[in-house]
């Protein structure tokens, strides 16, 4: 059998990719956002229950240590913010084990940037401006949706108040999943399923769709606040184009003790699910303890944006070598 040594993207596509990357750097240069480079390896990792981290065993000055490959450059960048860096951006190699498909590659490039003093709305505007500047034609207007409103429109259920039994029924029917395999599943699973399989493919079709007011349980590293209906929601947004999730942004959590509770809860959930625990990033917590300026930050899957900008069918079409060929 022939060995597939050839690149997964054409050389012409790699030229286009380089041109778009140069535009990204120029965009931030114009706005006085500093480009930084932080380590891919870390002694702490992401505790996120739904991410599978890779790790490496390294011989360090303190003997053999398990070092985590980052799932995003968030922790190191936040330590720079706490040290007074001001606004920063990074094009960072990130790793998420098991994520392989038309829109996923285990190793990918994350464009992440942080804006001290920015409100979430201001960062949404900046993200949309950047995305528009990289697309070959106008994708349509920026349209904002509340998470709750999307469930009302597309599914006639309420993510906060509809009973779990009803959510399971709707999820089984609308996402073509067997009722048995949903029987033991919780509210979060049903909401994730409906959002990913039913709602997302319909977003960003003739517009840039921005979704806000996610349930508080999906806050991750974002602050929480009460929305106009009095529900606790995450201060978080997601941006979609052509049914593809492109960016995820937060009004950043700066409270060290709250952050520790979330990490600890994640690891408790990991134990419950029989998943390996991840070492909590003590240096990040110490940086938050010292004080990180309030502000907003966003992570954008730049490979996906390049894929959409160049009209390619699969992510590997814009990667020099996708993971199966690395």
């Amino acid at each position: 059998m022939a060995i597939d040594w050839q690149p997964s993207a054409s050389i012409e596509t790699l030229r286009e990719r380089a041109r778009l990357m140069a535009k990204v750097r120029a965009f931030f240069d114009q706005r006085d956002v500093l480009e930084v480079e932080t380590p891919v390896l870390g002694q702490g990792g992401s505790t996120d229950v739904h991410l599978v981290s890779l790790h490496a065993l390294a011989r360090t000055d303190r003997g053999q240590r398990r070092l985590w490959l980052q799932t995003s450059p968030e922790f190191h960048m936040k330590r720079l913010l706490a040290a007074g860096s001001g606004p920063i951006f990074q094009l960072a190699k990130s790793f998420r084990d098991g994520e392989v498909g038309a829109r996923h590659n285990i190793e990918f490039t994350m464009l992440e940037w942080y804006r001290p003093q920015f409100t979430l709305d201001k960062l949404i505007d900046e993200t949309a401006t950047l995305v528009m500047s990289l697309l070959p034609s106008f994708p349509g207007p920026v349209v904002h949706y509340r998470y709750r409103e999307l469930f009302h429109t597309h599914l006639e259920v309420d993510p906060f108040t509809t009973s779990l039994e009803k959510l399971r029924l709707v999820a089984a029917e609308r996402a073509q999943m067997s009722a048995q395999s949903l029987a033991g599943e919780d509210r979060e699973t049903c909401l994730d399923l409906l959002m990913s399989v039913v709602i997302e493919p319909q977003l960003g079709q003739h517009e840039l769709s921005v979704v806000v007011d996610y349930p508080a349980s999906q806050a991750a590293l974002a602050q929480r606040h009460q929305d106009v209906d009095g529900e606790w929601v995450a201060s978080r947004f997601e941006l979609y184009l052509k049914g593809v999730e492109l960016a995820n942004g937060y009004q950043e959590l700066t409270d060290a003790s709250e952050q520790r509770v979330r990490f600890t809860d994640d690891n408790a959930e990991r134990r419950r699910l029989g998943l390996p625990e991840v070492d909590v990033d003590e240096r990040l917590l110490a940086a938050l303890e010292h004080g990180m300026p309030t502000g907003a930050g966003v992570a954008l899957g730049i490979d996906r944006l390049i894929q959409l900008a160049l009209g390619k069918a699969r992510l590997e079409d814009v990667l020099a070598f996708s993971t199966p060929r690395c």
Binding site: E99, V100, A102, Q176, L193, E200
Partner: protein
Amino acid sequence: MANYSTNEFKGGLKVMLDGDPCSIVENELVKPGKGQAFNRVKLRNLMTGRVGEKTFKSGDSLEGADVMDLEMEYLYTDGDMWHFMKTDGSFEQYAVEKKALGDTAKWLKEQVPYIITLWNDKAISVTPPNFIELEVVETDPGLKGDTAQGGSKPATLSSGAVVRVPLFINQGEVLKIDTRSGEYVSRA
């Protein structure tokens, strides 16, 4: 049979779903940046031929289906069953029911090799070769000189199939037919 997890779902893998053997057509990971992973899977039900989509939680598994595709020549029918023989030199014969034969009934010709799909050693479907040569047993007389493009007419073939053929074709001629589209290709 072994169980297969969603990350092993590849095009062509045969699995059991709701009691029927299915062949996986496509498997796509759906994974939000924050949240759980699912797999959207397109499957062909091998009993009905229908293709449907299903969602699984990533990591869920399905039991493998004991399904095999074997090449066999068509021998004859006794009216109830259709008999085929393996082409591997074993002379082993399989009887196929009308339901399993499906649309292939109209493309049967002796000594032609077909792909027989077996599930637990029972024939569940018969796939004809992409191209087959069949004789015209009935059609309107050919129009002399009309070899240009243009009109067509129905012709009944020796297997019973009726296909559209060019006006110049005569009864008794042998034609090459594409069984996937049911269209005339050329004179054989």
